[in-house]
């Protein structure tokens, strides 16, 4: 299937021995000028890149307390070394969180700390873990900071909460500033600015797709469920990852959202201007770009005159929405103050279930034995509902309300300890296929455990990246691509449609 070996799934998880540099060849395509320029980055490696990079590092350390503190306080205790799915899947030591951070930290030590400058002058910067910024280091940055999905698993286990995602974002921002951007992310952000979503689906294509969905649901259920686009005065603006408009199993989730809105009798709309929940500005660490993408949602909400904003199933998007949207594009004082801004579609559906407003025929999902994959950024960088941990409980409660058979994967692979799917953080691109397959190993191992022990047939997720990634990599591990489903696909299949008024 490919020119690399799929990792073997062992009976029990083991911490692999180090195999230095086995992944140093893994690099995503570099962005050409046409993808750099719309984001305000130089088109190719600038001449004085060393100075520029160091200047940018200093600027970022002054803007982000996380970066400044994390660069100083790591004691190299080793607690994080066996926590990254990319390390477990690739065995490359530079995929250990601390070693990945040290690629950046060694340069910080050399140019920004007394110890690094002092021992640097003595000609032995390595004594204090410092190193000159040379081309080799820059290449390592490009390679290994694109082997981090910013999933934050390491930050859970670090005694100081050091989050490698913060370092990765900073490193990618420095790379962009010197002209070495990543094609996948930067091209996509450009598409959002130009067209409104990651996939570059223009308004007519969206209208066509949504109309098709209406017909499909009508054929299926005999009921006129609406999938509205750009409807002014709707109660709810739905912001969902653009993959929901056409990819499997994403679109089945979108069908589910529509049915829930229909049953709740709440008017809603998608915006063609802000037809994307994902915000790749976060992946490249760029506050400015992340803000520009977010502002589109604010503008669309104002333009359409909605009262609430609800986000569809998307992991990193929910992080930006839940944790950052109010900061980036707030305040949202023009929306209905009775609801949190924004809300997650799972919060919305769960509230309706609590109120008894939705009826389900669970037997419709009896051909499925379910498990649930906690998406990393939902689990460790956001919340649902009023209580901490609601992000674990609410999706599971929805699954249990719609399915008769549910089993969790092993405790150290779910909730805050969940493993990333292997494709997050701007790595969901074909030029990183080896990394994606290997990085999925810990999740596949946990899945195999419940498949073997409880006869689990399907895994549900609430993230567009997780869904795309799993459809692609599951066959490498002997599963089939349709074993990954949307949570709202389960809702869609089990919901009993009672509201025939439009």
């Amino acid at each position: 299937m490919a020119d690399f070996e799929t990792p073997e799934i062992k009976e029990y998880p083991v911490i692999p021995r180090l195999k230095p540099d086995v992944m140093s060849h893994s690099k995503p395509f570099v962005a050409k000028e046409q993808f750099q320029e719309p984001l305000g980055f130089p088109g190719e490696l600038v001449d004085n890149w060393q100075d520029k990079a160091i200047e940018k590092m200093g600027e970022l350390q002054g803007k982000y307390r996380s970066l400044q503190v994390f660069l100083d306080i790591c004691v190299k205790c080793g607690a994080c070394t066996d926590k990254c799915h990319y390390y477990l899947g690739t065995t490359d030591p530079k995929n250990m969180p601390v070693a990945r951070q040290d690629l950046f930290r060694q340069v910080y030590r050399r140019y920004f700390t007394f110890a690094g400058k002092f021992f640097g002058k003595l000609g032995m910067p390595g004594f204090v873990g410092a190193r000159e910024l040379d081309k080799e280091v820059l290449d390592d940055w490009y390679s290994y900071f694109h082997q981090c999905s910013q999933c934050r698993r390491c930050s859970v286990y670090c005694p100081y909460g050091i989050d490698t995602a913060e370092i990765s974002m900073a490193a990618r921002e420095v790379l962009d500033a010197v002209g070495v951007g990543q094609k996948y992310c930067n091209e996509i952000i450009g598409k959002v600015f130009k067209i409104g979503n990651n996939l570059g689906l223009p308004e007519p294509a969206l209208a066509d797709t949504l109309e098709g969905l209406e017909e499909e649901v009508k054929d299926d259920t005999g009921i006129d469920v609406k999938y509205p686009l750009d409807v002014k005065g709707a109660e709810v603006l739905l912001v969902t990852p653009s993959a929901d408009f056409f990819a499997e199993p994403h679109v089945d989730g979108l069908i589910g959202y529509g049915k829930v809105f229909h049953e709740a009798g709440i008017s809603w709309t998608v915006s063609s201007y802000a037809s994307e929940a994902a915000n790749f500005g976060m992946f490249i660490g760029s506050y400015e770009n992340m803000r520009r993408v977010s502002m589109r949602i604010r503008e669309a909400a104002l333009e359409l005159g909605v009262k609430r904003i609800i986000f569809g199933e998307c992991g990193h998007a929910w992080r930006v929405a839940y944790s950052f949207l109010n900061t980036l594009a707030g305040p949202f004082d023009f929306l209905d103050p009775r609801y949190p801004v924004p809300q997650h579609i799972c919060e919305f559906t769960y509230d309706l279930i609590q109120k008894g407003a939705l009826k389900f025929d669970k037997s419709a999902n009896d051909h499925r034995v379910m498990t649930y994959h906690d998406s990393c950024n939902v689990a460790r960088a956001s919340r649902m509902g009023p209580m901490p941990g609601g992000q674990f409980k609410i999706p599971r409660e929805i699954i249990k309300a719609t399915c008769n058979h549910f089993y969790d994967m092993p405790a150290d692979t779910i909730h805050e300890g969940t493993y990333c799917c292997g494709g997050g953080g701007g790595l969901l691109t074909d030029d990183l296929m080896e990394l994606r397959v290997k990085g999925a190993m810990p999740r596949m191992q946990a899945l195999k455990h419940v498949v073997d022990n409880y006869g689990v047939t399907h895994m549900a997720a609430i993230c567009a990246i997780c869904k795309s990634q799993f459809s692609k990599v599951m066959p490498y591990y002997g599963f089939t691509m349709d074993q990954i489903v949307s949570v709202h696909q389960l809702v869609s299949d089990a919901i009993v449609m009672t509201n025939n008024e439009v």
Partner: protein, 249 residues
């Protein structure tokens, strides 16, 4: 001898205090533009205080992470606390300004715990040292300075234990020396090799503290993933530099 040490202690003390003030001011004044607590996170300030408490006192995250590092690390740090209280006896003048603390320090429990804490500290430190050699992952991430700092503290602990259990220094004279330093009334110090080594190593530790990873001590209080309240939807959080972007368009 005592004059040289006295001057060195003043210099090292100044470097330590100024260095720490500079770093703490830097941490405090650098903005945290986004809400990034590692969730599930507390939704109230009180909850955050409790979270920080469990991290600092019990090393909560490390417990979840790795039991060996937790055992050795916690033994060392707890022993450090006990040893600190034992050492206060050499720096508090019962008749002086902090004399009211004297009964708290000069009692059997504190002194005995502090005495045996030296062994506990050595066990913890040797365990951490062994991990740096034995575990391939930890060996890979270790710089020479990581070993050097461990050796430095092992040296301090070892000379301390030897003075407690093998060859006592002239503790009365030592106390006169430290009180003299604190009151700017310099007195002679004992000159046995163990004490001189012990104090010299402590001087090095004081100097490197603000320019090394030992900054984890003040730094953890500023870690945004641990000290932020999880309330981004309820309360708008924005840094000054980010607010400036808003007025530009």
């Amino acid at each position: 001898m005592h004059i040289a040490f006295g001057i060195m202690f003043y210099i090292a003390g100044l470097l330590l205090v100024i260095g720490l003030i500079v770093k703490i001011k830097q941490y405090a004044s650098t903005p945290a533009p986004l809400k990034i607590p590692t969730t599930p996170a507390p939704v109230t300030r009180t909850g955050v205080v409790w979270r920080m408490f469990t991290e600092i006192v019990f090393f909560n995250s490390l417990w979840k992470s790795n039991k060996w590092i937790w055992i050795f690390g916690w033994l060392f740090h707890f022993a450090l606390l006990l040893a600190f209280f034992r050492h206060l006896r050499y720096a508090i003048d019962p008749a002086g300004m902090f004399g009211f603390l004297w009964p708290l320090v000069n009692n059997w429990a504190v002194q005995t715990a502090g005495k045996y804490a030296g062994w506990m500290m050595l066990i913890g430190l040797l365990g951490l040292f062994a991990r740096r050699i034995v575990v391939d992952r930890v060996r890979y991430i270790s710089s020479p300075s990581d070993f050097a700092i461990l050796l430095l503290i092992i040296g301090i602990a070892l000379t301390g234990v030897l003075m407690s259990f093998v060859a006592h220094t002239d503790i009365v004279q030592l106390k006169e020396f430290t009180i003299g330093l604190l009151t700017f009334n310099w007195q002679p110090m004992p000159t046995d090799g163990l004490l001189i080594t012990h104090l010299a190593l402590v001087l090095i530790l004081m100097v490197i503290f603000p320019v090394s990873k030992l900054l984890h001590a003040p730094g953890i209080f500023f870690s945004p993933t641990r000290n932020q309240v999880d309330n981004p939807r309820e309360q708008r959080h924005i840094a000054d530099w980010a607010r400036k972007l808003e007025s530009s368009n």
